[in-house]
Amino acid sequence: MKNSLAYLVMAVMCAASFMSCKKDNYDPPQSLLTGRLLYKGEQVNVEYNQVPFQLFQFGFGKVGAISSTVDQDGRFSALLFDGNYKLTIPANQGPFLWKKAASGGQDSLSVTMNGNQDLDIEVMPYFMIRAAKFSAAANKVTGTFSIEKIIKDADAKNIERVNLYINKTEFVSTGDYNIASSQLTAEQVTDPAAVSMTVNVPAIAPTQDYVFARIGIKIAGVEDMIFSQVEKVRL
C-alpha cells in the first residue's frame, strides 16, 4: 500500500512535468498577403524562383528585408503579423520597370496588414507574349504567338532570344525546370506579330502523354525573362 502511494505520487509528478506555461509563446503570423503582378489586368508571368520581392517592417530595431520570390505565374504571397509594411522589388529585378522614388532608389508600396489582404500590383513589362497557342504532333510541340513591345520610349529594350520550354511538371522555366527547349535568336524573329517555334519532345521516364509548355523572352540587358502562361499539351 505504501509502495503504491509512492507510485501514485510519482505518476502525478510525471504528468505534471508535461505541463507547460503558455506565456512565453506568442501566436504565429496569421495575416496572409496575396497578390499578383499585373499589366492592364493581365498576369505577368515570370521565371520560377528568380524574381524577388521584399517586405520591410519598421520599428523593431532590426534592418533587413523579408525576402521571397514571385511565383512563375506572377502571384506572390507572404504570411505576416499585423502591422505596417513597405513592399518593393529590388533594383534591376524582374522583366518589367518598377517605379523609381525621387531619390533614384526603388519606390515602395505601403501595406497595412490587419487580417488577410489581396493586393494586385500594376507593373510595366518590356514585352508581353500574346495569343500563345500550343499544339503537339509527331512528338513535337509547336507554339505560335505574337510579341507585343510595351515599353517604347527611352527605356525600351530589345529581344535577345526567345525560348520554347517544355517540362514534365507544371513548373516550366530555365535551368532545372525544363526537359527540352528550343531557341530563336533576335535575328530569327522576323515578324514579332506571328512567331512559331517547335521543340522535340525527348523520351520521358516514366512515360506520360502530356507535357507543360510555355514561351519565354530574354530581353537584352535584363536578367529575368518574361513568359507566357503555362499550358498543358496532350501529346
Binding site: 524577388p52 534591376n92 530555365t174 535551368g175 536578367e223
Partner: protein, 632 residues
C-alpha cells in the same frame, strides 16, 4: 602549549613572506619568442615572411584539383556529393569565390611596421623584406578586387582602444579603380627594391611586381571598357564598375609594365623552349621542369620529403597503371579540346563524321587530333597517347556491324564477342559513365602532372610548382593591351611568339587580330591556370557564355573560336573500336560526341555573380560596407 602555538605562528608568518624579485616573478616563456626577439635576426624575420608567402590564396592551385575543375572546361570524375553537384548545378551561389581575409592583411601590416622599426637587420635585408611584404599585400588586394570589387584599403595595423566603440575601425569600401590603382602604384614603388633575378622564383622579384602590375592594369582597363556590356553591374559609389574613360590609361600602363619584362630589364625571362623536337612535351614541361625554367616568374614552390608537397598527380594520374588506386579526377571536356585550333590557324571540331554524315575511321586513335595546336597534347592526355611511357587505354566499347555497342560496366570488362570468343570490351581507363577515376569525357588532364616516379603515390607526392605569373601570359597581356590601343601589328607580333612555341608557325597578321583571337588565345594557353573566370568576368562575357541554357550538340560544334561562344555543359568525345572481321575498318576507331547523363545542370552565371557576396556578418560588423549589386 602556548609556546608551541607561538612558534608555529611565527614559522607560518615567516613562510608567508615572499621575495620581491622581478626576475623570479616575471619568468620569460620558454616556448614563445617575443616580438623584439623575433625581429632581432634576419633568419627569424625571414621565417615570418615565409608564413606570409604561404598564406597567399590562389583561385586555382595544384593543392586542390577541384579548384580547377569547374566552368564546363572539364568533367569531374568523382562520385562524391559536392563534386557531382557541380555537374548538376544550374547556377553558382552569390557567395561563390568570395574572400575577405583581413587578418592576413593585418599580419602583413604588422610585419611591415615591426620590420621597419627593427634595429639589427641589415639595410639590404630590411629593404628586401619590406618590399616583399608590400608585394604580398598588393597581390592579395589584387586577388580581393578581382573577386569582390572595391574593398577597404588598410595599410596599417589597426588598434582597438577598448572604448566599446568600434567606429574608428570601420572603413568603407574603396572604389574599384582605387584598389587597382593601389596595386599598380605599389608595384611601381617596390619594383626597384626587389632583386632582378630570373632564377629567383619562389620569392618576389622585380619581374613578379611588373607581371602583377601588367595583369592588374589590364583587368582594370577591360572592366572600364567592357563594363558597358553590363550596365546593371554597377554601384553608384563606384565600389563596383570603372568609368569607361579610364580604359586607355590602364591599357597604356599594362603595356608599359609588360614591355619592361619583355625588354629584359627585369631579368632574363623567355618562353620555355628546351624540347623543340616535341612541342607537346615542351609545353607540358613548362609546368614540371624546375631546372632553370626561364618562363616562370613567380611560383608557389614545393619540395619532396617535406610537408610542402601536393597530390595533384595522385588525384589526376591516368587510372590504368596508376601508382595508387585513384587518379583521373579532372577530365577535360570536348568544349576545351576542340578549341585548340588547326595548324593552318582555322577552327574546326574534331572530325568525327564526313560530309555525308558517315563516321570517319581512324587507324590510330590519336590521328583524330593530328595537325592541331601542340598545346592540346600538352594540356590534355588524348586517347592513344601515353603518360610516364605507359599508353593510356581509353575506349568506350566495340561498335558491332549492326551499329549496336558492346561495352562493359567496369574498367577493362570482358564480354563474349559475336564470334564466340571473349575479349576486353572497354578500356582500363574507361570511359564508363559514373565510374569515378576513369576518363569519362575520353580525356585526362596533362598540365601539372608530374612525370617523376612516385609522384602518383600518396607517400611521395609531387614537388612541381604552381606558376602564378609566367612569361607567356605577360606576352598575351602585352598583345591584348596593344590590340586595345590600336597597335594590332604589335599585338600580332607578341601573340605570334606564344603561338610559334605551340607549333602554329603561320604568323597571324595585324588584320587577323580580333577580340575573338585575344579571348581564344588566353583560353587555350592558360587553361586550368585560374584565369578563365577572371577573364570572362572582366570582359563581361561570363553571363553570355554561361547563360544557363542547355548546350545543344549543334551549338557545341559551331562558332568555335568566338569570344561569346556558349559553354554551359561539358561534352565528351568517346572512342569506339569497330568490330567487323574481314572488313577494312575492322579494329579501326570512330568517335562519338556525347553528353554524359550525369550532366543534368547547365551553368548559369547571374549578374549577381560578377562580384561575390560580402557575408552578412562582415556587413553587420561594419555598416559602412555596401552590398554588391543584383544579389537580392
Amino acid at each position: 602549549m602556548k609556546k608551541i602555538f607561538q612558534i608555529t605562528l611565527f614559522m607560518f608568518l615567516a613562510g608567508a613572506s615572499g621575495c620581491n624579485d622581478d626576475k623570479f616573478l616575471n619568468t620569460e616563456p620558454l616556448s614563445d619568442l617575443t616580438t623584439e626577439e623575433v625581429f632581432s635576426s634576419s633568419p627569424q624575420v625571414f621565417s615570418i615572411l615565409a608564413n606570409l608567402y604561404n598564406r597567399q590564396p590562389d583561385f586555382s592551385s595544384v593543392k586542390s584539383w577541384m579548384s580547377m575543375a569547374d566552368f564546363s572546361e572539364s568533367f569531374i570524375s568523382d562520385n562524391g556529393g559536392d563534386q557531382v553537384a557541380v555537374l548538376r548545378r544550374n547556377s553558382w551561389n552569390y557567395d561563390a569565390w568570395n574572400n575577405w581575409d583581413y587578418a592576413y592583411i593585418r599580419d602583413i601590416n604588422l610585419f611591415l611596421e615591426r620590420a621597419e622599426s627593427a634595429t639589427v637587420l641589415s639595410e639590404a635585408d630590411k629593404k628586401r623584406f619590406l618590399a616583399e611584404a608590400r608585394f604580398l599585400r598588393a597581390n592579395y588586394y589584387f586577388e580581393l578586387v578581382k573577386r569582390m570589387g572595391g574593398v577597404p584599403i588598410i595599410t596599417k595595423a589597426l588598434v582597438y582602444d577598448n572604448s566599446g566603440n568600434t567606429e574608428a575601425l570601420q572603413f568603407p569600401r574603396a572604389k574599384e579603380h582605387e584598389v587597382y590603382d593601389f596595386v599598380i602604384s605599389e608595384a611601381e614603388a617596390i619594383k626597384n627594391l626587389l632583386p632582378t633575378d630570373a632564377n629567383q622564383k619562389g620569392r618576389a622579384t622585380k619581374a613578379a611586381a611588373l607581371a602583377m602590375e601588367a595583369r592588374a592594369a589590364l583587368y582594370a582597363a577591360s572592366i572600364a571598357k567592357y563594363g558597358s556590356n553590363t550596365p546593371l553591374v554597377n554601384l553608384p559609389g563606384g565600389e563596383v564598375g570603372i568609368p569607361a574613360t579610364m580604359a586607355s590609361g590602364y591599357y597604356t600602363k599594362a603595356l608599359a609594365a609588360a614591355k619592361e619584362i619583355i625588354s629584359g630589364t627585369a631579368g632574363a625571362y623567355a618562353l620555355y623552349n628546351k624540347k623543340p623536337n616535341d612541342l607537346q612535351d615542351n609545353f607540358a614541361s613548362i609546368f614540371y621542369d624546375k631546372g632553370n625554367n626561364p618562363e616562370s616568374i613567380w611560383i608557389e614552390d614545393f619540395q619532396l620529403k617535406t610537408v610542402k608537397v601536393h597530390g595533384f598527380s595522385v588525384s589526376n594520374q591516368p587510372r590504368f597503371g596508376a601508382e595508387e588506386e585513384e587518379g583521373g579526377r579532372i577530365n577535360p571536356s570536348l568544349n576545351l579540346v576542340q578549341a585548340f585550333e588547326k595548324l593552318d590557324n582555322t577552327f574546326a571540331p574534331i572530325p568525327v563524321k564526313d560530309g555525308s554524315g558517315n563516321p570517319i575511321y581512324y587507324a590510330k586513335q590519336a590521328d583524330a587530333f593530328a595537325g592541331r595546336d601542340a598545346r592540346l597534347g600538352g594540356t590534355v592526355i588524348l586517347p592513344g597517347t601515353a603518360f610516364k611511357l605507359r599508353p593510356v587505354d581509353i575506349w568506350a566499347g566495340y561498335q558491332l556491324p549492326n551499329g549496336s555497342i558492346l561495352s562493359g560496366d567496369d574498367r577493362g570488362s570482358q564480354r563474349p564477342l559475336p564470334d564466340g570468343s571473349t575479349a576486353q570490351v572497354v578500356g582500363f581507363d574507361g570511359p564508363i559513365v559514373g565510374k569515378e577515376h576513369t576518363a569519362q569525357t575520353g580525356f585526362y588532364i596533362r598540365k601539372y602532372l608530374d612525370p617523376a616516379i612516385g609522384s602518383g603515390s600518396r607517400g611521395t607526392q609531387s614537388e612541381i610548382p604552381f606558376i602564378r605569373y609566367r612569361y607567356a601570359e605577360v606576352l598575351l597581356n602585352a598583345a591584348e593591351a596593344s590590340f586595345e590601343l590600336g597597335k594590332t601589328a604589335d599585338a600580332a607580333e607578341y601573340m605570334n611568339r606564344v603561338r610559334t612555341r605551340a607549333g602554329l608557325i603561320i604568323p597571324l597578321t595585324a588584320g587577323d587580330i580580333t577580340f575573338d583571337r585575344i579571348v581564344h588565345e588566353r583560353r587555350v594557353e592558360l587553361a586550368f591556370e585560374g584565369h578563365l573566370l577572371y577573364d570572362m568576368k572582366r570582359w563581361r562575357l561570363a553571363h553570355q557564355i554561361w547563360d544557363g541554357e542547355r548546350l545543344a550538340e549543334s551549338e557545341l560544334l559551331s562558332n568555335i573560336g568566338k569570344a561569346n561562344k556558349k559553354s554551359t555543359q561539358p561534352y565528351s568525345l568517346l572512342p569506339y573500336k569497330i568490330y567487323n572481321p574481314g572488313q577494312p575498318n575492322h579494329n579501326q576507331w570512330i568517335y562519338k560526341v556525347a553528353l554524359s547523363n550525369l550532366v543534368t545542370g547547365a551553368n548559369r552565371f547571374r549578374l549577381g555573380n560578377y562580384y561575390s557576396f560580402i557575408n552578412d556578418d562582415i556587413r553587420s560588423r561594419n555598416p559602412k560596407i555596401v552590398r554588391q549589386p543584383n544579389q537580392d
